[in-house]
């Protein structure tokens, strides 16, 4: 029951919001998301990593097509569901009340349903449905409340991601016809079907799936939609996109791509790693020359995601464990950073860093929180980013020293552009725009302090999170390594 509740409650809440139009749409949506959060904590409390089938639900949905409504939870899914349910209340709460209506908050809740669904789906067709469903609310959020040039930018985003997922759809249908006996979209059957294929077929499938996931993340060279979309979207949209939605792509790699076409991954994984590492360096260098802070964070996000994706393709335990924890950390950190940009923007009406400066003396608490979250992004020890990045770079060094070294450079570059951003906007002389910069309001404190605390807590004591995902990662890797051993 709890499983179905955490998937469908946001949907019903959105429906209630549309139908009954309560006076305070934001308040209602916030309460709904808190209830969702409570439910997900209950799930986490009851969850037993060694026996992950206790939350499985499997009912027939479209018999003729071999589709069932099959959802389940393991450590990886649970962590991402928690990331979603923790961040969505913050995203809703962070909103200002101007011009944002029932539609806006309803769309956020719909988005939450789709995201939770993606992370829990154990049926290919269901996964695809949720995957696409997540696109619709965010598209309308960006189209209706975005900034300049939004129609064009959001449309580019939509077509890009849709194009990717259609290839995934063809891949899924192809696999469906390879399943044994009565064809089915059940994840285990799809794994078996994929593994029974030859190298050539697996390679095609690898690219069909990888394209969809790589566009979503995005990995170089499929990233061109991302900076514009992040900059144009309303800040809550940007948060949804960067903090949660891009995790769909990485999650897809881990859950669907690796165990389904291990040979394809073994054959093309190196290419994917090289693309990811190129992306890391390329995005870092571009981030260094950015003047707009929102764009800078957008590019830094490409760099971070590149590292995660490279780690996943090492097919090693530390790589995937690092990817999982880094997904959580990146979600929290990027949420914080985009909110900080929004705080600055709401006071100064600009995102251009050279127009800012001297904020530290005006708003010391703000400056401190910014610094903590920023250090999380740079991956300083004792911040959340360090754990993930350490594991990821470690796995890459084990994979190939050159690759590991190049990826490690990204940490240095990250420090360069992030600290420069901090220096330009917070330190130094105050400008005309920052001369009246006010300290954080209560609302902003309620959003930023917990985020900063999460960044520190994960950094100091990541063991519970790692322990949660470990059995699931072991299981996935065992499927892959057993298969690869049996082929060779």
């Amino acid at each position: 029951m709890l499983t179905l509740f955490i998937i469908f409650w946001p949907f019903f809440a959105a429906l209630l919001l549309f139908l009954f139009r309560p006076q305070n749409a934001k308040g209602f949506a916030f309460l709904a998301s808190l209830l969702e959060l409570a439910a997900s904590f209950a799930v986490a409390y009851l969850f037993d990593p060694s026996n992950s089938s206790s939350f499985d639900v499997n009912v027939p949905w479209i018999d003729k097509l071999g589709v069932s409504f099959s959802v389940g939870l393991d450590g990886i899914s649970l962590l991402l569901v928690l990331l979603t349910t923790v961040l969505v209340p913050f995203i809703i709460y962070a909103g200002t009340n101007e011009n944002k209506s029932h539609t806006f908050y309803g769309l956020i809740l719909l988005m939450q349903m789709a995201l939770v669904g993606v992370f829990m789906a154990r049926d290919g067709f269901l996964f695809y449905t949720f995957w696409e469903l997540a696109l619709i609310p965010i598209y309308f959020i960006c189209l209706l409340w975005g900034g300049e040039n939004r129609a064009k930018v959001t449309f580019k985003f939509f077509v890009y991601t849709l194009a990717g997922s259609l290839f995934m759809l063809v891949g899924l249908i192809y696999l469906y016809y390879q399943t044994e006996g009565t064809h089915s979209f059940d994840i285990q059957k799809l794994y078996k079907a994929g593994q029974s294929l030859s190298l050539v077929e697996q390679s095609y499938l690898f690219w069909a799936f990888f394209l969809a996931f790589a566009i979503k993340m995005p990995v170089f060279p499929f990233h061109t939609w991302q900076p514009d979309t992040y900059t144009t979207a309303p800040f809550q949209g940007t948060m949804l996109l960067s903090a949660i939605m891009l995790k769909m792509g990485i999650y897809g790699l881990i859950r669907w791509l690796l165990p389904m076409v291990p040979l394809g991954v073994a054959e093309w994984g190196y290419t994917a790693i090289v693309l990811s590492v190129i992306g890391i360096l390329y995005a870092s260098f571009i981030a260094i020359v950015q003047k707009d802070m929102k764009r800078l964070i957008a590019y830094s996000s490409i760099a971070h995601v590149g590292l995660i994706s490279a780690g996943v393709f090492t097919l090693s335990k530390i790589g995937i464990q690092g990817a999982v924890i880094q997904m959580i950390s990146h979600g929290v950190v990027v949420f914080g950073l985009f909110y900080i940009v929004e705080v600055i923007h709401s006071r100064t009406k600009t995102n251009v860093m050279s127009d800012l400066g001297g904020i530290r003396s005006k708003a010391p608490a703000f400056a401190s929180v910014f610094l903590i979250i920023l250090l999380g992004s740079i991956a300083l020890p004792f911040t959340s980013g360090f754990v993930g990045e350490f594991l990821l770079i470690n796995s890459l060094v084990n994979y190939k020293l050159v690759i590991g070294a190049l990826a490690a450079v990204s940490t240095i570059l990250g420090a360069v552009y992030m600290l420069r951003a901090f220096q330009q906007s917070i330190l130094g002389e105050e400008s005309s725009k920052t001369s009246t910069f006010a300290e954080l309001t209560t609302q902003e404190k309620i959003v930023l302090y917990p985020i900063a605390i999460i960044v520190l807590v994960i950094g100091i004591y990541p063991a519970p999170l790692l322990a949660l995902s470990e059995p699931a990662v072991d299981q996935l890797l065992m499927i892959v390594s057993d298969y690869l051993a049996s082929v060779k």
């Binding site: 949905w61 479209i62 018999d63 003729k64 097509l65 695809y128 449905t129 696409e132 469903l133 696109l135 619709i136 309308f140 189209l143 209706l144 129609a151 449309f155 939509f158 077509v159 849709l162 194009a163 259609l166 290839f167 759809l169 063809v170 249908i173 192809y174 469906y176 016809y177």
Partner: protein, 456 residues
């Protein structure tokens, strides 16, 4: 068969209605009558009956299509009640529509080439008149004339084809034709195949497949909006059900002679329509090209030659006509007097009347094939079927064209959600609201619980 009698009776009744002064309740009575006809048709479910020396054979497929046509007709009468309100010749118009329905239903259950011809002619002749029913509009007259001229050519091709097939096989009966071709496969004269191809050309005209689609945009644009809605839903369903009967059942034995041509038609229909639609700014024309494009997907399902194609095409047509009816419901609210609806007329619709904008958006998203709406399942079934027989190349073309489809559908969506300074609040009648809710409900239901509607 009783359904056919009921609708014939309704047609005659509606002609008489003028005399007995029943005009006020006519549309309501007709709607109830059609619904009854649908209910009566379902009584024969799972039985196969033949009538009039096998001229008509009613099986599950024909019942399913009959019910689909009746359902669409009920919704169509609901959406076009404004059209009937404004018309002075209500009784003539409704009688013509009913006779067109009779033709459409004959096309779902014919088992004889002469019945095919009869059905197509009853359907088409009523439509020629209906297309020109806005007598003071030059475009309406042009549409009627163009449709008539093109339609006559198509009928000519069809007749010639039927004649050649008769010459080769000595019968009009579909079952006998397919038996004859199976028995004498190697000795069939060349002109038999010419006949099959001519029939294909005639049918391709009726479903507006490329390269026989040129009439569609002009006729869709010129005809009164309600009639356009009728043509793009009910007529399409009827024409495709005839197409199915001919090519999946009757000519399946000689598949290798026509398959390549039909494949080429399917592919070019998908490609040409999607490219042309991109350049349209008139919404009726755009929807015309989109309906041509949907014909391409249906044909793709048809050329698989699989016996599952019946069910897939039925479902596809169901989702397509529900979404189309939804789109046309919204458009009837937007059409002011004689003017056409262009992209710029949609600007600011979300602000001025959100229900229309959301309804239209859902219709377009469904046509674009976005899950979890009905159109996605329809498209999915087609792709699934095509992949199951190994048409990977066709599937890739279909995917690329549906991406292009997303582009032109989203052009409409984007302009609806743009701000416009002169957006005025619009009042929408309760009946229209209810219709929009019903259609949106159907689109969602068919997308989320496709089991319910996958009857064949």
């Amino acid at each position: 068969m009783n359904a056919l009698y009921i609708i014939c009776g309704l047609g005659i009744a509606s002609l008489v209605a003028e005399i007995v002064n029943l005009k006020k309740w006519l549309v309501v009575l007709i709607t109830i009558g059609i619904a009854t006809a649908a209910a009566v048709a379902t009584l024969d479910w799972n039985t196969t009956n033949s009538y009039f020396n096998d001229m008509v054979v009613i099986d599950n497929i024909s019942i399913a299509f009959t019910v689909l046509i009746c359902l669409s007709a009920v919704l169509w009468f609901w959406l076009s009640h404004d059209y009937f309100k404004d018309e002075t010749h209500i009784t003539d118009q409704s009688a013509l529509v009913l006779f067109a329905l009779v033709g459409a239903i004959i096309l779902t259950c014919f088992n004889n080439m002469s019945m095919l011809f009869l059905g197509i002619e009853i359907l088409s002749i009523s439509l020629y008149v209906l297309a020109g029913s806005k007598k003071d509009s030059i475009f309406s007259t042009e549409a009627a004339f163009k449709y008539f001229l093109m339609g006559s050519f198509a009928t000519g091709f069809l007749l010639m084809g039927i004649a050649l097939i008769y010459g080769a096989t000595g019968t009009f009966d579909l079952i006998k034709i397919s038996q004859f071709t199976a028995d004498h496969h190697s000795t069939l004269p060349g002109f038999f195949f010419a006949g099959v191809l001519l029939v294909m050309v005639g049918m391709a005209f009726k479903v507006s497949a490329v390269p026989f689609h040129f009439w569609a945009p002009d006729v869709y644009q010129g005809s009164p909006l309600a009639i356009t809605a009728f043509m793009s839903t009910i007529v399409k369903i009827a024409a495709f059900s005839a197409f199915l009967r001919l090519f999946l059942n009757c000519f399946s034995v000689v598949q290798n002679t026509w398959l390549f041509t039909l494949q080429a038609i399917a592919i070019s229909t998908m490609i040409v329509s999607s490219i042309t639609a991109v350049y349209q700014s008139n919404i009726k024309r755009l929807l015309a090209y989109s309906s041509v494009g949907h014909a391409g997907y249906v044909l793709l399902a048809l050329v698989t030659g699989s016996s599952d194609a019946n069910g897939v095409i039925f479902y596809y047509l169901f989702t397509y006509s529900v979404a189309s009816l939804l789109a046309f419901t919204v458009l009837t609210q937007l059409e002011k007097s004689d003017s056409d609806i262009s992209l710029t007329d949609l600007k600011g619709l979300f602000k001025s009347s959100p229900i229309l904008a959301v309804g239209f958006t859902i219709a377009l998203l469904s046509m674009a094939g976005i899950p979890p709406l009905a159109g996605f399942i329809g498209k999915y079934l087609v792709l699934n079927l095509a992949l199951s027989v190994g048409y990977i190349g066709f599937v890739i073309v279909a995917i690329i064209t549906s991406l292009v489809g997303v582009y032109y559908y989203f052009k409409l969506i984007i302009s609806m959600f743009q701000d416009s300074p002169d957006a005025k609040q619009q009042s929408i009648s309760i009946s229209t609201r209810l219709l929009i809710y019903v259609l949106v409900g159907l689109v969602l239901l068919a997308g989320i619980l496709p089991n319910v509607f996958q009857v064949i």
